[in-house]
Each structure stands twice: as structure tokens, then as C-alpha cells.
């Protein structure tokens, strides 16, 4: 049984579920194989902060009992998954990458998104490394050490959901949850070569999630294929009484879609690899229209930053007053400054956000889907301060979010298609942007790109 494909690091959700329900392998065996991979990879990737081995074994055993009894099991039966350390996992202290929260009681219940996956009979394996309070793009967490990119462990997996991306790209689990406030799903998906999805704002419940910036926080997910992304997203919609998803994304005929590209800010701040990735996907999707100028994108980036600071400062004010000496030094001064910003700046940022969102959405009169690179460059080495892109010296950490950050304030659903530009050794993703509520359109485009080998995830 040890050689069964469903036990391998690259096994898909469909393979695992199929093997478990056909009884060619047990959920327990799948779980043990995943636990073994987690243990053996810890020194290399530092992806997990908590491993819930006992719960995983009990959940898997329950799935096996029901399979053996001929009872129905859910659409993710036996599929291992893990979550960013800001989702509540029953019985585990949710730390959000911070020492400050280690004194809290263990969560009494699962976060709603976790509960939806568990209801689909997925097996929760634990919590994943992140930037403290999700405030960063590189998962360089001083408390637990940096998460590492499976494609080159000297490099960052991106952040702030870096442990989630490292766990999926490293073949530890086929599915992981993250959150995206300014790009924290899309940046790691890009740097780790994964399919990622940040659904429409509010589409997936944030109940039981430690927030960062309330009006910008989205729950999202990472997988190694478009079909896995569809399966994970469908389960997150909520499970019905029989364990079946209550609403499954319908597929869309991608040949009929009108596809456009975001230019201006999104081209000016993209390096050669990012432009190559965009051109590859744009050509595959038959883009003929000139790139859109998007003149307010720079202001939207600024607005997203100001909103993030202001909301994070408000959220953590009491901790900033009394416990900031326990914050990660990387985050501490940013959070203190965040608490001090004038209301004038926040209100002004929210107004720019409103105008920008309307301008961006107006493009859907002419296009069904819009494209933009997800990061300006491929994964930099951990600790990198600056990156030279197109002759410009950029601050490496904030610049990682420059192409995702302007889009988050709109709340639109955005997927990431992994591509391998340049010499093909490191990935870089392309954002697929759709109107609110049209996740199915994104998943269909990703499936098309996946089937044609344009978008490709490589498990390391």
C-alpha cells in the first residue's frame, strides 16, 4: 500500500477521495503519510506551527469506519488540509503568529471555514506559519522563524499565508486555507507556484478567524490544481445534511470570455518575469485589446495601505498599549504607528477606494475577466531588503504586494494561475479577476489553463 499514488506528496484531492472511497487505501494511511511528510520537512520548510496529529487520526478513523460500513462520506473524504494560524481549530490556541496570543484559551470551536471542510470529511492536520498578525508579505516571523519556499529553501514563500503555501507546494497537504488582506493568498500562491483563490469579500465566512483589517480581510485557499481548487471552494460554500456542497460552482465556457489586461501601474511595477507570465496567459486566453490604463491604481495601493494600518491599529490598540514589547520586532513599530493615524487619512482612503472600485468594475462592461501579474518578481531570498527590477531599486518586502494590494479594496474575486517564466526554475502567478460573485468564471479559466499546461503547479 505504501506505493499507492494517493499516498504520495503530489496526490490530488480527487485521487485521495477516490482511493479512500474505493477502499484501495484508508484515510488513516493517507493521514499517516501526510504526518510523516510534515515531520520530515519541518527543518526545511518550517510550514507548521501546530500539528493536530491526534485529532487527524481520530477524524481519519471515523471516515474509515463509515466507508467500511458503506455509509456516505463527504466530497473531501480523507483529504488532509491545514490552516493559517489565525483560523480557530478546536482545542488549539489560535496565535496569529504572535506570542501575545499564546496566553489565550484553546479555541472552543472550529472556525466556520474549518468546520465546512471537516463537514466535507477533510482531515485537519494543524496550523501554519504566518507573519505576525498577518502584517507582512514574506512570513519572516521572529518568534518561530521564517517559512521557506519549497522550490528553493533559501527563498521566501511569500506572505502572510506563507506557511499555507509552503505546505501545499511542498506536498505536505493538497489543500490549505489562508487569508488575503492585501495579497496574502495571491503573493504566496505566486511565489510558490500554486493555484490560489481569494473569493469575493464576504463570500466565505470569517467566523472564528483572527482579523487584521476588517474591511479588507478575505478567507482564501491554495491547491496544486484547478480541480482541487474547485473541490476545496465548493466545500467551503457549506455542507448540506448529506455532506454534499450546498452550491457548487458552475463551469463557464472560457472560449466565449472577453479577456483584458490591466496596464499602467500593473505594467510599470512589473519586472520582466511578471510581464512574461502575463503575456503567456494573455496569449493563451486570446487577449487582443490594449492594456487598460488604470490611472488610479497607485492611489488605490496607497488607500489599501492606509486602511490596513488604521484598521489594524484600532483592532490591536489595547495590546499596543500594554503588550507591544511581546510583538515581533518586525511588526511592532508599524502597529504602534497604525494606532496613531488621523481619521482624516482613513476617511480619505475609503473615499478613494469607493471611486477606484467603481472605475475598475466599469471595465466589466467590456470584459468578462481581467488579468494582471500577481507579484512584480519571483521569490527573493529570505532577508532581502531591495530588489532591482527593470532598472529600478524596489523595497523587496512591500513591493511584493504592489500588484495585489490595489485590487483588494474592491472586494472582487481573484484567482492565481501559476506560471514558470524565465528559465523556469521559479514560479510567478497571474491574477484572474472577475466581477463580484463570479468565482466560477475564475475557476473555469484556471481549469482551462491547467488542462492546456499554461498554468502548472510543481510539487517539490
Amino acid at each position: 500500500m505504501s506505493g499507492h499514488p494517493s499516498l504520495s506528496a503530489g496526490a490530488s484531492i480527487e485521487e485521495i477521495r477516490g482511493a479512500v472511497t474505493a477502499r484501495s487505501v484508508s484515510a488513516t494511511e493517507v493521514t499517516e503519510a501526510a504526518l510523516q511528510r510534515i515531520e520530515s520537512s519541518h527543518q526545511q520548510l518550517n510550514a507548521f506551527t501546530t500539528v493536530t496529529a491526534d485529532r487527524a487520526r481520530a477524524t481519519a478513523a471515523d471516515v474509515d469506519r463509515r466507508v467500511e460500513a458503506g455509509l456516505d462520506v463527504g466530497p473531501l473524504a480523507g483529504v488532509p488540509f491545514a490552516v493559517k494560524d489565525l483560523f480557530d481549530l478546536r482545542g488549539v490556541v489560535t496565535r496569529a503568529g504572535s506570542e501575545v496570543l499564546t496566553d489565550r484559551s484553546p479555541a472552543a470551536n472550529d472556525a466556520a471555514a474549518v468546520a465546512a471542510l471537516v463537514a466535507a470529511d477533510a482531515v485537519p492536520l494543524g496550523a501554519l506559519t504566518m507573519d505576525e498578525f498577518a502584517f507582512g508579505f514574506t512570513t519572516e516571523n521572529t518568534h518561530v522563524g521564517p517559512a521557506r519556499n519549497p522550490h528553493d529553501t533559501t527563498r521566501t514563500p511569500g506572505g502572510s499565508s506563507g506557511g499555507s503555501a509552503a505546505a501545499v507546494a511542498g506536498g505536505l497537504v493538497p489543500l490549505a486555507l489562508g487569508t488575503d488582506t492585501n495579497g496574502s493568498v495571491r503573493v504566496p500562491a505566486s511565489l510558490c507556484g500554486l493555484f490560489g483563490l481569494k473569493p469575493t469579500y464576504g463570500r466565505i465566512s470569517r467566523r472564528g478567524v483572527q482579523l487584521f483589517s476588517d474591511s479588507l480581510d478575505h478567507v482564501g485557499l491554495f491547491t496544486r490544481s484547478a480541480s482541487d481548487l474547485a473541490a476545496g471552494y465548493a466545500a467551503l460554500q457549506g455542507a448540506g445534511p448529506d455532506g454534499e456542497p450546498t452550491s457548487e460552482p458552475a463551469s463557464v465556457d472560457t472560449e466565449q470570455l472577453r479577456v483584458g489586461c490591466l496596464g499602467g501601474w500593473f505594467a510599470d511595477n512589473a519586472g520582466p518575469d511578471a510581464l512574461e507570465a502575463l503575456e503567456l496567459v494573455a496569449a493563451a486566453l486570446g487577449v487582443t485589446a490594449p492594456p487598460l490604463k488604470m490611472e488610479r491604481a497607485g492611489a488605490a495601493h496607497a488607500a489599501a495601505s492606509v486602511i490596513t494600518y488604521a484598521e489594524a491599529g484600532e483592532l490591536h490598540l489595547d495590546r499596543i498599549r500594554h503588550e507591544r514589547h511581546r510583538f515581533d520586532p518586525v511588526v511592532r513599530h508599524r502597529l504602534v504607528a497604525a494606532a496613531l493615524l488621523p481619521a482624516d487619512w482613513y476617511v480619505r482612503a475609503q473615499r478613494v477606494r469607493g471611486v477606484w472600485a467603481a472605475e475598475l468594475e466599469a471595465n466589466f462592461d467590456n470584459f468578462d475577466v481581467l488579468l494582471a501579474p500577481a507579484t512584480p518578481f519571483v521569490a527573493p531570498e529570505i532577508g532581502t531588503e531591495t530588489v532591482v527590477v527593470g532598472g529600478k531599486t524596489l523595497p523587496a518586502r512591500p513591493a511584493l504586494g504592489w500588484l495585489t494590494q490595489p485590487l483588494t479594496p474592491t472586494g472582487l474575486p481573484i484567482g492565481v494561475a501559476p506560471t514558470w517564466p524565465g528559465d523556469g526554475t521559479l514560479p510567478l502567478g497571474v491574477q484572474i479577476i472577475a466581477p463580484a460573485g463570479h468565482e466560477a468564471r475564475i475557476i473555469s479559466v484556471l481549469a482551462d489553463l491547467d488542462q492546456r499546461g499554461i498554468a502548472l503547479s510543481q510539487s517539490s
Binding site: A299, A302, I320, R321, H333, A338, R351, V355, A358
Partner: protein, 86 residues
């Protein structure tokens, strides 16, 4: 204190660093954040960094984007609702 606080309301990116420092110290104090001496400079730098972003935010005065409830032309409460309210 009130006069000093008012002076910070117009704080903008083209103000010199000492203004940001004064703003940082004063606002932190008002919020009950007692900054250590070695915290003042890095926090001031962060406030100034955000201020540089604010430079890019136009002041927008547009009824269409207000987050407040909007009661459009003619959508005033009718007489019955007004009477009920009384």
C-alpha cells in the same frame, strides 16, 4: 494640549520630520501609549511613511461614494411613517 492637537490636524507629508515626531509623541500620549525613548524614532518613521502614501489620495467630495445611508431624491419618509415616528 488642545492647541497642540489642533496643529496636528493638518499634518501632511510636506511637513518636516519634527512635526511627525511631535505628532507621534502627542497622539501616543493621548491614546495611553507610553512610548519608550527608543521607540519614538522608528514609530515616527512609520507615521511619515504612511503620510507619504496619503499624498497620493485626492480629496474626493462625491455623494455617490459616501458610506452614509442614502435617501435619494423623493425618497423622504412618507407622512404615515412620519406620523408613526411621532
Amino acid at each position: 494640549m488642545v492647541l497642540s492637537l489642533r496643529a496636528t490636524v493638518d499634518l501632511m507629508p510636506d511637513h518636516p520630520t519634527e512635526d511627525f515626531r511631535a505628532y507621534t509623541v502627542l497622539t501616543a500620549k493621548l491614546l495611553g501609549i507610553h512610548l519608550e525613548e527608543d521607540e519614538i524614532e522608528p514609530v515616527t518613521e512609520q507615521v511619515a511613511r504612511v503620510a507619504s502614501l496619503v499624498e497620493q489620495l485626492d480629496r474626493i467630495d462625491d455623494d455617490d461614494i459616501t458610506p452614509a445611508p442614502r435617501f435619494r431624491a423623493g425618497a423622504r419618509p412618507d407622512a404615515e411613517a412620519e406620523a408613526e415616528a411621532r
